[in-house]
């Protein structure tokens, strides 16, 4: 076979022999002529053809047909590029899956490949067994291929490493092995390979897709450090890691995203992600974007959470006495691992901390107590330390105080001091019920003074730690969801050496006061049963663990170092006080590639996948045959009729969507000058405005060079305003306020040179005093517009002379005054000019109330719709109104052209000066 090309049905290639025969046939058979009845044949008699062209098929047509037939034959023979090599051999076949999380990246492809191998074995009549190495070792069951083919779909990868006991579980006897390996080097692989090689030939299938593993995130230097390993270390790539957690509403959401770049040839990449503490506390897992394996998911336990801590002491710390200060040791112990909040108690309570530490504060005010109780009920931890003030206070004298775990005896006691009997007391080992159970008590922790608790009946239950003589050292009481814990010694080294020792920090951690280091050590975990809350499957999905059995702390510690196994699946384990995440990839896990000896053929690592060329070749054959039809038609001269029909069909097919692409509104608005009015929502007013602008357009067409198209109504919310030079806006009392988007559009329109004519249409009422509803509406609407200062129109404004010379501007009414943009204050009349040079531009607004649209309005037949005034004076008024409209449009279209000096002589003449 040609390298990289194989045929599924090579026998069909024999059909290619027929091609020369086809060639001969086609050459011999000419294409059929057309018969025509034509009277002019009398004139054709005796004419010979110019070329002695053969009546055979032309060569190019022949080649085309031969190529089409050849493509069809080769296509049917089923060529495949880069075919999958088939297995030779007899005897039983064992198909092995690694089945680890690394397989999850292309599990379906592996199952398909295994199905192909099983089917091949079935065709060859070999018994087949399928085994997954992450299951418990069991002798593989050799059965027929059909039996296993049905079961293949039910296999799934697991999130832990393969069991090492498979080498011993293999049966005797010879069999070949087809191993679908995940590419990683697991423990026991070499033994298994040796055992399998003893029994027969081994072939390995590996996927070339890269593998990414996400190490657990740690919190260092104020940022979350994320690192990712990859296998193989190839060219430079970039991946994204996202942090997921619940948002305040409880829905799982992506909280943050970080990009990591692998340099070329590097296997590990790191980045630091800074998150605000609130987000950081909410993060539940980190994922590599785009990878669906358990190795790309890293669950976070409490190690990323930092508690919010409030330290409240006994007044201001005196300078120079820091080492004696009660807060110093607490701050040193807690500042690196928790967020400290400072302030008074009420302020601190408002910040909702997780822990409040009161160092020697015996008494609180009633309001503070109530607030504190509320906070405690909601799940806060109140940590109190004793001190001289606590010893002197008479808390607990008569009944339980709400914020003390036990009743205290006044005075405390001193042991091992200068004035007392006995040695300083040491600590007794922690009882089993205490959260401190398992912590090792160093010998140099002694207590020389403490406050004592009243011997109440429930004192033993509340005691967390005791001295060697049984006196309680740390007591606790639960209030609602929260708890109050009292250390019977001070927080500094005055009364005991406990704050100086590491035990102090561990005790604080055990009390969930501070955060934990990244990997809990064995002694932190020992002594508890850890129950899995959520379990990761091989694809990285976290599922509820259900009734999975709990795990001993020591075993969990082993799993944390060595990786999860079947009995200890990866996931989130909850203990008594905290949760620990067991991830597939630990901080120190290194992805090692599996190394196969030279005798073992490894497939699947080639870059090119198998490609079936059959479809492409058959498509090519079809296309060539279609071309052949056209060519044959052309040869016989029938193409003209068919061609024109085909061209028409294509044009119809392609021409249909063209019409939709045009915006008809924009087209009608821009093909000519279009006067527009703003739709007010009142149909009558809109109709009058439309008719008015139509009438104005007629006058313009008659008298000026402006020939406007029919006017259009504009909806300021939805339509584009920039097409129109001039907007006529009739104000009604019931008009709605434009939206913000519409205001933005209007302001842009006014700033870029548009003009709006506001017509409140109340010219008959406005002069009578008082604001009309329309003028109120106008004020309301105009409040959102960016209008320059306005003034009543001066006598020498360009509107008075932009086409006609006018002095007043009536519409249907004559009384209202017109407001236009104010002239600049320094505009003055220069020598010899009859007018001042006012604004260099078009006034953006004209405001008036003379109801111009009704004066301009004409109906279909061109007659005026509304009466203006009475009699001849009324018609004169209508004429002036028309002239004013023409002046406005000319002003809009030409600016202050008429303010140019060049018009002065003519104007002077006209004005009679």
């Amino acid at each position: 076979m040609i390298s990289g090309l194989a045929f599924a049905a090579p026998a069909l290639l024999l059909g290619l022999i027929a091609l020369p025969i086809l060639w001969l046939l086609l050459r011999a058979v000419p294409p059929a002529p057309i018969r025509r009845r034509f009277p002019g044949v009398a004139l054709l008699l005796g004419l010979k053809d110019a070329e002695a062209e053969t009546d055979k098929t032309p060569l190019w047509l022949l080649l085309l047909r031969a190529l089409a037939v050849a493509a069809a034959i080769v296509g049917f023979a089923g060529p495949v590029l880069n075919p999958v090599p088939k297995a030779e051999g007899t005897g039983p076949l064992l198909v092995l899956f690694d089945g680890t999380w690394a397989d999850a990246r292309d599990w379906q492809r592996r199952v398909d490949r295994a199905a192909v191998a099983v089917a091949d074995a079935g065709r060859a009549g070999r018994p087949v067994a399928v085994a997954v190495l992450t299951d418990a070792p069991d002798a593989p069951d050799f059965q027929t291929a059909e039996a296993w083919a049905a079961r293949l779909a039910g296999l799934s990868p697991k999130a832990w490493v393969p069991d090492a006991g498979w080498a011993k579980a293999l049966p005797e006897g010879d069999f070949d092995t087809f191993w679908l390996s995940d590419g990683l080097d697991h423990a026991g692989r070499a033994d298994l390979l040796a055992a399998l090689s003893d029994r027969g030939a081994v072939r390995v299938f590996q996927s070339p897709r890269p593998l990414f593993a996400l190490h657990p995130a740690r919190f260092e230097d104020g940022a979350v450090q994320i690192s990712v390993s990859r296998l193989p270390a190839g060219p430079e790539t970039e991946i994204e890691v996202i942090a997921r957690g619940p948002d305040p509403a409880g829905i799982d959401r992506e909280l943050a995203r970080a990009k990591l770049t692998f340099a070329a040839g590097e296997a590990r990449a790191e980045t630091a992600l800074t998150l605000p503490p609130e987000l950081r506390n909410r993060v539940q897992r980190f994922e590599i974007l785009g990878q669906r394996t358990a190795g790309a998911v890293s669950l976070t336990d409490d190690s990323l959470k930092r508690r919010k801590l409030a330290l409240i002491g006994d007044g201001a710390d005196k300078e120079g006495l820091q080492l004696l200060s009660a807060m110093h040791y607490l701050r040193q112990a807690l500042a690196p691992v928790a967020d400290l909040v400072d302030g008074g108690l009420t302020d601190v309570l408002a910040a909702k901390p997780d822990v409040i530490v009161l160092a020697d504060v015996p008494r609180l005010t009633q309001t503070e107590t109530d607030a504190m109780l509320d906070w405690l009920e909601a799940g806060g931890l109140l940590l109190r330390f004793a001190g001289p003030k606590t010893a002197a206070a008479d808390t607990g004298l008569d009944g339980d105080t709400p914020l003390m775990p036990v009743r205290l005896r006044q005075g405390g006691r001193s042991v091992g001091g200068a004035m007392s009997w006995g040695e300083p007391k040491s600590l007794a080992p922690f009882p089993e019920t205490s959260p401190f159970f398992g912590l090792v008590v160093p010998e140099d922790v002694t207590v020389s003074s403490q406050v004592l608790a009243q011997p109440d009946p429930d004192l033993p239950q509340r005691t967390l730690a005791a001295l060697a003589d049984g006196t309680p050292l740390v007591t606790r009481r639960e209030i609602g969801e929260g708890q109050v814990v009292l250390f019977h010694v001070t927080a500094n080294a005055e009364w005991s050496t406990l704050p100086l020792s590491g035990l102090f920090v561990q005790m604080l951690e055990r009390l969930t006061v501070s955060t934990r280091p990244a990997t809990p050590k064995a002694e932190d975990l020992a002594g508890q049963i850890w129950v899995p809350e959520r379990v990761l499957d091989a694809y990285g999905q976290a599922v509820d663990a259900g009734e999975t059995a709990g795990v001993q702390g020591s075993e969990l510690a082993v799993a944390l170092t060595e990786g999860p196994v079947a009995a200890r699946p990866p996931g989130l384990y909850a203990g008594a006080e905290r949760r620990v995440a067991l991830n597939v990839i630990g901080a120190e896990t290194v992805l090692a590639a599996a190394a196969w000896p030279a005798t073992v053929p490894v497939e699947g690592l080639d870059a090119a996948p198998e490609q079936d060329l059959k479809g492409g070749l058959l498509a090519l054959a079809l296309v060539l045959l279609a071309v052949d039809i056209i060519a044959a038609l052309w040869i016989s001269g029938r193409l003209r009729a068919a061609g024109s029909a085909a061209v028409m069909l294509i044009a119809l097919g392609l021409g249909v969507p063209e019409a939709h692409a045009q915006d008809d509104f924009a087209l009608t608005a821009t093909t000519g000058v279009v006067l527009a009015h703003v739709l007010t929502g009142d149909p009558q007013v809109d109709e009058i405005a439309q008719a008015g602008l139509a009438g104005l357009g007629d006058r313009l067409r008659e008298r000026t060079a402006v020939e406007p198209d029919p006017p259009m109504g504009v909806d300021i919310e939805t339509d584009e305003l920039a097409f129109f030079p001039f907007l006529y806006w009739p104000i009604t009392a019931t008009q709605g306020q434009p939206s913000d988007a519409a205001y933005a559009k209007l302001n842009r329109y006014l700033q870029t040179g548009g003009m709006v004519l506001f017509d409140t249409r109340d010219g008959d009422m406005a002069g009578l005093g008082g604001a009309t509803p329309e003028s109120e509406t106008l004020q309301r609407i105009a409040s959102g517009l960016d209008i320059p200062p306005l003034e009543p129109i001066p006598n020498d404004h360009v509107l008075t002379r932009s086409f006609y010379l006018l002095q007043d501007f009536p519409g249907r009414y004559t009384d209202s005054s017109i407001w236009v943009e104010a002239a600049p204050a320094d505009a003055e009349l220069s020598e010899g000019m009859p007018f001042r040079n006012l604004n260099d531009g078009v006034t953006p607004v004209i405001i008036g109330g003379n109801d111009w649209a009704a004066a301009w309005a004409v109906d279909q037949s061109g007659l005026a719709m509304f009466p203006v005034g009475r009699g001849y004076a009324g018609e004169r008024q209508r004429e002036i109104a028309n002239r004013f409209g023409i002046n406005i449009v000319m002003h809009v279209l030409t600016g202050n052209y008429k303010s140019d000096q060049v018009h002065v002589p003519a104007l002077l003449e006209r004005l009679g000066e």
Partner: protein, 289 residues
């Protein structure tokens, strides 16, 4: 039966007997507005021609006294010579006239018939006598029906036809409507025979636009309409130039023939409106006067 229904039934009968060809021909003829025309010389007729001074030999009765009273001499009123002319038509009914180049075009024969009948209508209205092969020329409206019957015969069996000179009235007129694609010798013979009799006339060649353009290409076998002639070609497009040359040569020869005998020749395509051919033919027929 009352008078009204009798009239109606007669009208319907009359309407039914009016075939499409006649309607079309009348319609076509109606597009030309003509007046009565004379022969532009003195003779017997109705129309006033001129006043001429009376001279010896004129009857006293023929003097026009009104005109003579205006002057010193005597004048005789002359009338225009109007004589009915005999026109004989010939429409080529051979199979080649049944060719139509496109589905929406009528065959050449239809156009030829319509032209012939419209021409007949016009001439009969003008008072001439019109005849066709087998029908001696007669004036009057009734002749139209007879002409129509003579025209509406099916196609003959031979491919190309030749005109008949038998029924021609000496010193009359003749109209030949054909495609003239057949052998030109019979046509030449007919023309000379007509010229011997003093008959002048008009030849209208009716061609289909496909015959004029030759829009064929590819491997083709051409056959004549009657199947008698056959020509096979491998590349019809190549023949086009030479075919058009031959067609032009034929037209030129026909025009020369016509000029030689004092006739007129015109080519009409069925794609063009018929009025143009009718106008030309009528004008050519009257041009001799």
């Amino acid at each position: 039966m009352s008078l009204a229904t009798d009239l109606r039934s007669r009208a319907e009968t009359l309407g039914q007997s009016l075939p499409a060809l006649l309607a079309e021909a009348e319609h076509l003829a109606a597009t030309l507005m003509l007046g009565e025309h004379g022969r532009r010389r003195a003779g017997q007729g109705d129309e006033f021609w001129q006043y001429r001074p009376a001279h010896q030999g004129d009857a006293a009765r023929s003097i026009d006294w009104r005109r003579s009273a205006r002057s010193d001499a005597h004048f005789v009123r002359e009338r225009e010579w109007q004589a009915a002319q005999s026109v004989s038509l010939w429409v080529d009914g051979s199979r080649s006239m049944g060719f139509s180049g496109a589905k929406d075009r009528a065959p050449k024969l239809d156009r030829a018939r319509v032209l012939a009948l419209a021409l007949a209508v016009l001439l009969l209205r003008g008072g001439e006598r019109v005849g066709i092969a087998g029908l001696p020329p007669r004036p009057g409206r009734a002749q139209i029906m007879a002409l129509m019957d003579a025209l509406e015969r099916d196609l003959a069996t031979d491919d190309y036809g030749s005109p008949q000179v038998v029924g021609m009235v000496p010193h009359g007129r003749a109209v030949f409507l054909s495609d003239f694609l057949g052998d030109l010798d019979p046509i030449e013979t007919a023309l000379t025979a007509a010229a011997d009799r003093g008959v002048k006339g008009v030849m209208v060649q009716v061609l289909d636009p496909a015959e004029e353009d030759f829009p064929f290409d590819g491997r083709t076998i051409f056959e004549s309409m009657g199947g008698s002639l056959r020509h096979e070609t491998l590349k019809a497009g190549d023949l086009r130039g030479r075919y058009l040359d031959r067609l032009a040569t034929r037209k030129a020869r026909l025009a020369d023939l016509a000029r030689a005998v004092g006739w007129h020749f015109h080519t009409h395509h069925t794609g063009e409106p018929a009025q143009m051919a009718l106008l030309w033919a009528y004008g050519a027929l009257e041009g001799g006067r």
